[in-house]
Each structure stands twice: as C-alpha cells, then as structure tokens.
C-alpha cells in the first residue's frame, strides 16, 4: 500500500477504534438526539408558529426541525473532531504520526474521514429515530440523506482541522465554539425558514455554507409535499445545494490539508 493510503487508513482506523471503545461517547450520541426531540417537540414547538406560511401547511415544528437536528448533530461532531487534532498534536498520538514516513496531507484526510465516520454514526441513530419526530423516510431517501450529511460533515471536519492548525493553544477553543459554531447553526435555516426573515438576515443566511446543507436535507425529506408548501420550506434547487456542498468540500479540504501540512 502506498504511504498516503496507509496513513489515511491508519488515522481513520484509530479514530474509529477510539469511537467504539468510548462508551460515554456512544451513550452521548444516543442521548443527545432524544433530548433534542424532547425539547423541540414538547417545548420549543409550543411557542412557535410559522410566519407567512402558505395555507394548508400541515407539518409540526418538530417535523420541520428534523433535518435541522440532523445538520446540528453533524455540525458539532464534525467540527469538534477536526479541532481535536490540537489535543492530539500536543499530548498524543499525532506527534508520533508526524515523524512517521507518511505525507502530512494524507494525515489530514484520514482525520477528516475519521471525524466524518463519527458524525455518520450519530446521523444513523437519528435516521432510525425519524418516526419519533413523525417523519417517515423510505430507504432511498435515507441513503440520499446520508450522502448529503457525509458531504456536510467532511467539509466541516476539514474546517475544524484548518482552524486547529492555525491555533497555537487551546484557549481559543471556547471562542470558536461561541462565535463560529453557534452563528453557523442559527443562520443555517435549521430553526426557521429563510422565507420568513428580514432581508438582511436572509443575506447572512445565504453566506452560511450550512444553509445549503440544511436546504438539501429538507428538500429530500419533504420532496413529496405540495409545491406551494415545498417552496416555503426549501429555498434552492437540489443541484444548487449539491454544487455548493461539493465546492465546500473541495475548498475546505484544500484549506484544511494545506494548513495542516504547512505547520512546523
């Protein structure tokens, strides 16, 4: 096996081994979505109504949020896996990888795949729990959702790796969580449709890469809905969403691997 493939496989394998060995993380992965469902379904939804919704909109807030919850879990898991390379670099296994005869860029790709695998594990759990959110998915839709989620998670893990490569210490970590992840999430359209917000916010939402991911997920889940309702729930064509996502994977992938390879 060439050195690059070896590195990608080893780093991915290590992350996956760790994932399987960490019982608390697996319990967290199961518990977190249940908590979201409960809070969103029983709490937030009681205070929410859709402004400017077309007549005949017959989906509950929890149903509306379901694709957003998928995106959220992938967002958190991916970015924190990406950033975890800081810990690894300072205190652990990564130091040992950096002196091994394998290229750095391959190490970054392995890490991105490892982070995405963890995010996918959580996404699978959420997909199985879809009936709890009164969302029914057929097999094909589930597969398509997984594909979109994988792209989102790959892009975001690379994003985390890029940030981590530019961070000298761990002190910036909390800052990034507050000033990056939260806005990314709130502006993604996961919690409210883009159609019902003021123009300036719609503009910001259009800049948020996660918007396109959430849009694609929602389109896939509700593609059989009435066209009028669908156009309220979904903003873009699947082609546009997909192109943006693919571009993001490439751009963030390049940035992440470059940043990671460049550091001393």
């Amino acid at each position: 096996m060439p050195a690059a493939l070896r590195a990608i496989y080893t780093i991915w394998y290590r992350d996956t081994l760790r994932l399987l060995r960490e019982r608390t993380r697996i319990i967290g992965m199961l518990g977190q979505p249940l908590i979201y469902f409960l809070i969103v379904g029983q709490g937030i939804s009681s205070a929410m109504g859709f402004r400017g919704a077309p007549p005949g909109l017959n989906i509950s807030y929890l149903q509306f949020m379901y694709p957003g919850i998928l995106a959220m879990s992938v967002l958190f898991t991916s970015i924190s896996s990406g950033i975890s390379i800081i810990w690894d670099r300072e205190f652990g296994f990564l130091k040992e990888v950096l002196v091994a005869p394998v290229p750095r860029w391959a190490t970054a790709i392995g890490k991105a795949l490892g982070g995405s695998t963890a995010a996918m594990a959580q996404a699978f759990i959420l997909l199985f729990l879809a009936p709890l959110a009164q969302v029914s998915l057929d097999f094909i839709t589930a597969v398509q959702l997984v594909a979109i989620l994988f792209l989102i998670s790959l892009a975001l893990t690379f994003f985390g790796i890029a940030i981590a490569s530019h961070m000298e210490t761990m002190e910036g970590f909390q800052m990034i969580m507050n000033f990056l992840i939260m806005p990314l999430y709130f502006l993604s359209g996961a919690m409210f449709p883009m159609q019902s917000v003021p123009a300036w916010m719609a503009f910001l939402m259009r800049l948020d890469p996660l918007t396109y991911g959430v849009d694609a997920l929602r389109l896939l889940v509700y593609r059989n809905a009435d066209p009028q309702i669908l156009s309220f729930l979904v903003r873009y064509d699947l082609k546009i969403d997909l192109s943006v996502l693919l571009l993001l994977v490439l751009a963030l992938g390049a940035w992440g691997t470059w940043s990671f390879s460049r550091q001393e």
């Binding site: 050195a3 496989y9 290590r14 081994l17 296994f93 130091k95 040992e96 002196v99 005869p101």
Partner: protein, 326 residues
C-alpha cells in the same frame, strides 16, 4: 563517511531565543550517544530537528546519509523516537498502539503480529497487551513507548529523557533493554538526559548548555579531564580557608553547599598534608572520584538540578523564554 548522524553548525532560533547555537558533532553506527544538559539547554529542540519535526534556522544535519531538509521521508524511515512527553493513545490497548504504529510504517500484518509479540516480550509487557494504556504506570508506558519506537526496526532510536520520573529499578530495567537492543541489533541510540548517572550508560556524551556543546567525550575521559580527585573540606565555623588553601597548595578551590570543593591530582596523599597543616581549622575532609556532575560544574559554573518535576511543570518551565545570549 560512515557517520550515521552528522550535524554541522546547526542553529535554531525561536524569536528572541537561540535554542540551539551552532552545534556540530557526529555519531557512529551502533553508538549510544547522549546529550546531557539542564532544562532549556536545547536538547529536545536538537532532537526535533534531527527527526524532521522542526526546520533548522541554519546548518545541516544528515541521518543515515539522508539530509533532514531535503530527504525528510527517508530520514523518517530510518528513525524511531520516544518523545519527552508521552505520545501513546491512552484510550487504546498496548497492542493496538503498537498495531497502529506498524501500519503507519507499512509493516505487513504477519510481520507486525510477530514483531508486536517480540517487542512486548522484550519490555516485559506481553501479559498486559490487551489492557488500556490508561491503566499503565509511568514505567510501563515508557517501556511501551520504547517498544513502539523500535517496532519498525529503525537504524537510529531517539530517546528524549527516556526515564524521567521513574524509580531506579525501572530505570535500570529500561537500560538493560536498551543495551540488549544495541548489542543484538546494532542499533544506534541518541538520548538526552539530565541525570548524571544515566549519562554513564553512554559511549560518548555531549554536555550542552545554553544551546552550545561545552564538551564532548567518553564519560571516563570527561571525568579524567578534571585531573584527579575531588575533596570536600568543611572548615571550622566562621573560618574561610579558601584563599589560604589556594595559595598554599596552588589548587582549584570552589565554595559549594557542602563545603569547600577542591580538585587535586592525588587525593589520598593530599589528605594527610592538609590535615597536618590545617588540622585544627578543619571539621571534616571527604574524598571522592570525580563525577559527571563535577565536569558539568567545571564547564558551566553551576550544578544541574536533578529535580523530579512533572512533565507539565517542566513544560511551564521551558516556556519561560531565556534572553538572547551571544
């Protein structure tokens, strides 16, 4: 030719700090070569340059014939390393840590399986291979790291303070393994330490301070260079005998916490003279052979503090930047 490590005028500057200051040396194949120096001397920085983790500011280094800047890949293939701070994955088992390492170095599964058993037996951890590293003691972790550093059969093994914080028995056991490796496999070992007694295991030692090599020789030659024995004389309270002794016998006298430290050619015959000349002003005289500590004091004017600081504490220590010294 023939040197497995060649270093020429190597320098590394971090902002205002000259961590490694124009050092040159060579290491022979099969040698155990040591860097002895206090905290912040530049030991780890030198190792990081040699194993391609840091780029030198100036100078050249070749390992196994490969240039660290131009052929980093080949250099990495030739070396194994045990870092100063642990780099094990403590959530995984000992065997898993070794397995991942072997995969990275491209060992085939069959070879890897055999090697893992071999190195685990060598460091006495075969029974614990299925246990999570988190449950290991400091000595066990260190032994596992040495096993891992050697797993892919490198030609050179770097050990950055391999036994820091370990008890004497564990240190002795680790050294036994290292000597065996060198003898059986012709391994070259490059190690750093600030333990004097550990430095005695080396064939040759470079004493390094403030990024510069102050002396480089075999431990015996270094000690012999002091030219004799060390006497520690404790004078009767309130008397400063130093100038008197210095003038009378023309020897080197230094104040130390224990008393007056005197270097003489032949201690055994000097004691009676001293006692008959100044006996009523002296409380005690102590004779010993010179140690590397004495060599260090002579070269740098101070002692290496053999503190047993934790890794974290030492990380904090070394982050206090030393001002530029030229």
């Amino acid at each position: 030719m023939g040197h497995i490590i060649e270093v020429e005028n190597l320098q590394k500057v971090f902002g205002q700090v000259v961590a490694v200051d124009d050092i040159s040396f060579t290491v022979e194949e099969g040698e155990i070569f040591g860097f002895l120096g206090p905290n912040g001397a530049g030991k780890s920085t030198t190792i990081k340059i040699l194993c391609t983790l840091l780029k030198p500011t100036r100078g050249r280094a070749r390992l196994a014939g490969y240039d660290v800047l131009r052929e980093p890949h080949a250099v990495r293939r030739s070396l194994g390393i045990v870092f100063q701070d642990s780099s094990l994955d403590d959530r995984l088992t000992a065997a898993q840590n070794l397995y991942l390492h072997g995969l990275l170095y491209g060992l085939s599964r069959q070879v890897l399986k055999k090697r893992i058993q071999e190195v685990l037996e060598m460091v006495g951890l075969a029974e614990r291979q299925g246990d999570t590293v988190r449950t290991f003691s400091g000595g066990m972790r260190r032994r596992l790291e040495i096993a891992r550093g050697f797993l892919h059969h490198p030609r050179i093994l770097f050990l950055d303070e391999p036994t820091v914080g370990l008890d004497p028995q564990t240190r002795a056991a680790i050294w036994e393994h290292l000597h065996k490796l060198r003898k059986e496999k012709g391994l070259t070992i490059f190690m750093t330490t600030h333990y004097m007694d550990e430095a005695e295991n080396c064939d040759r030692i470079a004493i390094i301070d403030y990024g510069r090599i102050q002396a480089l020789d075999t431990p015996d030659n270094l000690k012999r260079s002091l030219g004799g024995d060390i006497l520690t004389v404790v004078p009767v309270e309130g008397i400063d005998l130093a100038p008197l002794i210095r003038d009378k016998y023309n020897v080197k006298v230094q104040h130390s916490p224990e008393g007056l430290r005197i270097e003489v050619r032949d201690g055994a015959s000097f004691i009676p003279r001293l006692a008959s000349d100044l006996g009523n002003q002296i409380k005690s005289i102590h004779l010993r052979r010179p140690t590397l500590d004495d060599v260090f004091i002579k070269l740098t004017g101070r002692a290496i503090r053999e503190e047993e600081a934790s890794a974290v504490e030492r990380m904090r220590l070394s982050s206090h930047r030393r001002p530029l010294r030229r």
